[in-house]
Amino acid sequence: MNPNYLNIRGVGKTFKAKGKTYEALGNVSLHIAEGEFVSLIGPSGCGKTTLLNLIAGLDKYETGSIDLDGEAISGPGLDRGVVFQNHALFPWMTVLDNIMFALDCAWKDKSKQEKREWAIHCLQMVQLGNAIDKKPSEISGGMKQRVGIARAFALNPKVLLLDEPFGALDALTRESLQIELQRIWSENRRTVVMVTHDVDEAILLSDRIVVMSRGPRAELIDIIPIEAPHPRNKSDLPDFPGYREIRSRIIDKLSFQFQ
């Protein structure tokens, strides 16, 4: 496993709007190993999503560099699968067509039949084999987000970028999707960067938790490894060695931001 698979080196980002400038990210450096699950946690508006968008290539960084598997990132690409907070499915397409659209964009030389079979396989992986012909408006929020996850996994990206993937869901649905994500991730291990503001979610899923400071000029203020083996169970969390320490360490860092 390459320990320096995704490298963020001295990255800064300034937004300009209506003559005003806002320096969102100061000088961020982070090295993520292949197959590692990293969570970015921080107060809202701290630039977590900005950093994720820079990795996704949806925004351009001004200073520093980001490279993935030896290649510099200069724009959006199929080697990075993004799961957006609000599921972001096309409402005019069925569940299956949402996946098929991604495959049609990505795999130009494969046959319709091959793509269809793979899309159905991916939907079965997230337990949606029975909903393939439904429109997004006909399924629940949790199911929509499963489709979003299936779409990102379907393209076999090198990195999965999750932007508060469960933030809009109720607590019970969120928990079942966290378990589901963990299962899928264990079965096809790949590098994940997840933005979250849920401390327990970060501890449950991550190999490392990156705590970010409040903007402007947001920086990484702590990096905490979580050693417990996967898969983890939410009810077992309190029994993990060092769980309390880790949790209070993160909360201390976060609450310090509000003083």
């Binding site: 290539g57 949806l58 199929l78 659209f101």
Partner: protein
């Protein structure tokens, strides 16, 4: 909307009011509709009988007789200057359909191209803003001069009146496409064509149909006036002709007929509009 039941139930000392309050809302609405209709017709009849209005104004019964006469044989043909109202209506509908379809063919793709480019939309905006408030009838002499045909001019006027709402709504639809949808397309490295065909077009379709609906209503308004001017045939020409015959009864029949057809056209497109509305 409906008389607040709590207020009316307080003073239900009289049995009639108590009974009225018990009726379902829809029955009360329909009842009120007919009451207004009957009172209106009676007032009209009374005004004519008492000689309060000009002599030209017909009684409701005369309008009814004219309706039976005009609508009884809508498709008679007795020479190129004397034919039934059905032919006039068909002529008007044909002009509207042609002008409207031509406008859609031009305005939807054009609006799309303009909407995709921010520079283009800003550059074109002053032209649209200037031309949009102009009555399409002002273009009629230009149509006559250029096309040298009354038929072509009528269609041209409809084209001009239809083009702005379609253009503006298409541009708006494309420009207001959710940023998230475009982000997904970008992360999937969707080609420009895939993005237009599968993201921008379906995302802006509801707005485009709204534009078509507005255009069709305006076209149906404008065709009457245009036909009064270009003449020959059509329901507007028919009305003008009846005015020259001082026949107000059949004009009133026409007004109701035009209203009904406009209503049907609008309902057709609003049905399409409802079908393609997405819930996310």
């Amino acid at each position: 909307m409906y008389s607040s039941t709590s207020a009316s139930s307080k003073k239900t000392s009289r049995p009639f009011q108590a009974k009225l309050a018990q009726l379902p809302g829809s029955v009360r609405t329909i009842g009120l509709f007919f009451a207004i209709l009957i009172v209106g017709l009676a007032a009209w009849q009374l005004a004519v009988d008492q000689g309060w209005l000009m002599k030209l104004v017909p009684r409701p019964s005369q309008v009814w007789a004219a309706a039976v006469d005009v609508l009884g044989s809508p498709f008679y043909y007795a020479g190129s200057n004397d034919f039934g109202i059905g032919f006039h209506l068909l002529a008007s509908l044909e002009r509207v359909a042609l002008g409207f379809v031509l406008a859609a063919i031009v305005a939807v793709p054009l609006g799309f191209v303009i909407g995709i480019s921010e520079t283009f939309s800003k550059a074109i905006d002053p032209f649209v803003q200037l031309l949009k408030p102009v009555s399409p009838l002002a273009w009629l002499p230009i149509g006559l001069a250029v096309l040298k045909s009354s038929e072509g001019t009528a269609i041209f006027v409809i084209f001009i009146s239809s083009i702005w709402p379609i253009l503006i709504n298409t541009i708006f639809g494309v420009r207001s496409t959710s940023g998230t949808y475009l982000k997904i397309a970008r992360t999937l490295e969707a080609s420009r064509w895939m993005t237009i065909r599968h993201v921008l077009l379906p995302a802006s379709l509801p707005n485009i149909v709204t534009g078509l609906r507005i255009s069709l209503s305006i076209a149906w308004l404008v065709i009457i006036a245009a036909e009064m001017l270009v003449g020959g045939k059509g329901i507007g020409y028919y009305i003008w002709n009846e005015w020259n015959n001082l026949n107000l009864a059949s004009i009133i029949v026409c007004i109701i007929l035009i209203g009904l057809i406009g209503l049907v056209l609008d309902k057709l497109l609003s049905a399409v509009e409802k079908r393609i509305k997405y819930e996310s």
